[in-house]
């Protein structure tokens, strides 16, 4: 049961300059994160979810056009910190990330044991021995045999490498861990194993997880809350139980209807058209062009409505 607020994100914006124009990847996101929570950011490709993760961790590329908003953690606005202070006090200390395709991003010339101990040496100022000891413990927790610590990345299977990447994010015991598509390239059995691992870690560590994915089915393995992202904005936030049984936003409904089921008879639905380009996005509801329920009000940007504790950004739920 989510208790107190870990992080409050207000009107977060991250825009990039590109050859074709300004990409409004994250365009005014409001979200609350709680301690010991597991929230899933669900969205399809191009909705801005990876940029959102980067925005929170301030892992910005060089062509940033705008980076504004408030990220309040323990009462401090992280956006006000200098880059150096952020690096020293926040990144990998208070929160960390398992990036997309992390298993392919492991350093090929370092032993995996050294890579997992590195964050402790760099961010917590630990000595090499202490760091290796913590790394050893972490290896055990994530289920990689300890004698693999001396191996190189290419000697491990995909599932093992993903576990190593997770260990790297956990070794400094941060309060918040962001996982970007942690199982997208893995087999079914390995996926299930990784999710079992994440469930166990959540129990053991009291951490808060943010899981970013487009895979609706596996997201339910970890989700206590669900946030749907579309075209740079969050359009629905809800607890998992109510979301998976009865999503509110038309886009969420279509998404749920497009998930293939092992058994049963229902027809699969798909959403015609394409998500809007994040360059030069107009006013008004961004899903309106593809929505079957659209009406005149949808030409204006919809407000965020609170429906019995669930948040939905849609005119259909406004008063009247």
């Amino acid at each position: 049961m989510p208790v107190s607020k870990l992080m409050r994100i207000q009107d977060l914006k991250l825009h990039f300059r590109s050859a074709a124009g300004v990409v409004q990847a994250v365009d005014g996101v409001d979200l609350d994160l709680f301690y010991n929570d597991a929230i899933v950011i669900l969205g399809e490709s191009g909705c801005g979810k990876t940029s959102f993760a980067r925005a929170i961790l301030r892992l910005l590329p060089r062509n940033v056009e705008a980076y504004t908003g408030k990220v309040l953690m323990n009462g401090n606005d992280l956006m006000g910190l200098s880059d150096e202070a952020f690096r020293r006090e926040v990144r990998w200390v208070k929160m960390s990330m398992v990036p997309q395709a992390a298993m392919n991003a492991l350093n090929p010339v370092l032993r995996v044991g050294d890579q997992v101990s590195e964050p402790l040496i760099v961010h917590a100022g630990a000595s090499r021995e202490t760091a290796l000891k913590s790394a050893r413990e972490m290896f055990q927790r994530v289920g990689v045999p300890v004698d693999f610590m001396n191996r190189y990345a290419f000697e491990l299977s995909g599932g093992m490498r993903q576990r190593v990447a997770i260990a790297m994010a956990l070794v400094t015991v941060p309060e918040l861990v962001i996982l970007d598509e942690p199982t997208s390239a893995l087999d079914v059995l390995t996926q299930a194993n990784i999710f079992n691992l994440l469930k166990r870690i959540k129990q053991d560590f009291d951490m808060s997880f943010v899981l970013i994915t487009h895979d609706i089915a596996t997201s339910s393995e970890l989700a206590e809350r669900v946030a749907i992202m579309y075209a740079g904005q969050i359009v629905e936030v809800s607890d998992a139980t109510r979301f998976f049984s009865a999503p509110l936003h038309p886009y969420s409904q279509k998404l749920m209807a497009s998930v293939p089921r092992l058994r049963g008879n229902q027809e699969l639905e798909f959403i015609p058209g394409n998500p809007p380009s994040l360059i030069g996005i107009g006013q008004g509801c961004r899903f309106a062009p593809r929505c079957e329920f659209r009406f005149e009000k949808c030409d204006q940007d919809p407000p965020v409505i609170n429906r019995e504790g669930r948040l939905v950004k849609c005119w259909l739920y406004a008063e009247g």
Partner: protein, 349 residues
């Protein structure tokens, strides 16, 4: 029959493959007969270090218009099997008979003709399309290679196939380059390319796994429609069981180079038999909030190395119901559980 080189391991390999009825051999579109695809491992470039037994004795037949799903994880051999059917790998033993002709006996232009009758749909639509060619060139390639020299005829076929995959207006699309299209549109182009030579068989390797959820359905439906209208035989290779029902009538489950269960799709979902199949089904998630409250049962360990597969039944080290003294000694043959439903597992003796 391709002669297996004098490989000592081959001698000991028990022939626990299906016997294909002789009359089937001629009427079925595709017959895979005791296929073995082994890759030689060389250390230091030339020192022999064993064989990777990617496909280790597979037999089945496929009729015209039949749709088959091959399900397995990485390391199961499904990719190697697929590539051998496409003619990209050479089997070391066993044969492929397509439309009455043995693949091993084909050469030169006959081989090209064989290839033109099988369409290939790949997993990643973006890397499956040459980025520097526009759609017109991409779709012309198979036609040009197969000596369709008349450019009007080529255009006619290209426009027809673009229409079938619903990339219209076709005249506008053929000028575009792959990076201008969305993932779903790119995959349609890949499908169009596979269809442009009017093949009889389509081999689709995870055709939707890299697409967004909402687009997956669109593509699967498209492929289903094409299959019906052209009476295509389809081999759909995936590791995601939840899509199989929408697209195939039969399913084969592969593990460590062998097919361990064969069944119609509905039958296997209602009556899964092999412990590995059961594990796969148990590990497949569906969107349900209660999933977060419990752990899933997963068999311990990892898929075995294909260089030194376990003796006997290859799944026995991870199997929760292995019979001691039997499963690790003898490789099980196929047992019939229900009509058209075979399992290679000693539990069903």
């Amino acid at each position: 029959m391709i002669e297996a080189k004098s490989i000592p391991e081959m001698e000991n390999n028990p022939a626990s493959t299906m016997e294909i009825a002789p009359e089937k051999r001629n009427s079925a579109l595709l017959v895979i007969e005791n296929l073995h695809v082994w890759f030689e491992l060389k250390r230091l470039g030339f020192v022999h270090a064993g064989y990777v037994r990617a496909v280790d004795g597979v037999s089945f037949e496929l009729d015209r218009g039949d749709s088959l799903a091959i399900v397995g994880e990485s390391g199961s051999g499904k990719s190697s099997l697929m590539k051998t059917i496409l003619g990209l790998n050479q089997p070391v033993k066993g044969d492929i008979i397509f439309d009455g002709q043995r693949l091993s006996e084909l050469g030169g232009s006959q081989l090209r003709h064989y290839r033109s009758k099988i369409g290939f749909v790949q997993q990643d639509p973006y890397s499956a399309l040459p980025p520097f060619m526009n759609l017109r060139s991409i779709l012309s390639e198979p036609l040009k290679i197969n000596r369709v020299s008349n450019s009007e005829e080529r255009i006619r076929r290209i426009l027809k196939v673009m229409d079938e995959v619903r990339l219209t207006p076709a005249e506008d699309f053929i000028q575009k380059f792959p990076h201008m299209l969305s993932g779903g549109q790119q995959q349609r182009v890949v499908i169009a390319r596979a269809m442009v030579m009017e093949p009889k068989l389509i081999v689709a390797d995870e055709p939707v796994s890299m697409l967004d959820a909402s687009v997956r359905v669109e593509i699967l439906k498209l492929m289903g429609r094409l299959q019906e209208s052209h009476n295509l035989a389809v081999i759909y290779i995936t590791h995601d069981l939840s899509t199989v029902r929408y697209f195939s009538k039969r399913i084969f489950v592969m593990y460590a180079g062998k097919i361990i269960e064969m069944s119609p799709v509905d039958e296997i979902l209602n009556n899964p038999s092999h412990p590995y199949t059961l594990a796969l089904l148990a590990a497949t998630s569906e969107p349900d909030a209660r999933n977060a409250e419990k752990m899933r049962e997963v068999p311990a360990g990892e898929p075995p190395s294909l260089v030194n597969p376990p003796t006997g039944c290859r799944f026995h080290p991870r199997c929760p119901r292995a019979i001691a003294g039997l499963c690790e000694v003898k490789d099980p043959p196929y047992f019939t559980v229900a009509p058209d439903h075979q399992v290679a597992c000693w539990l069903f003796e």
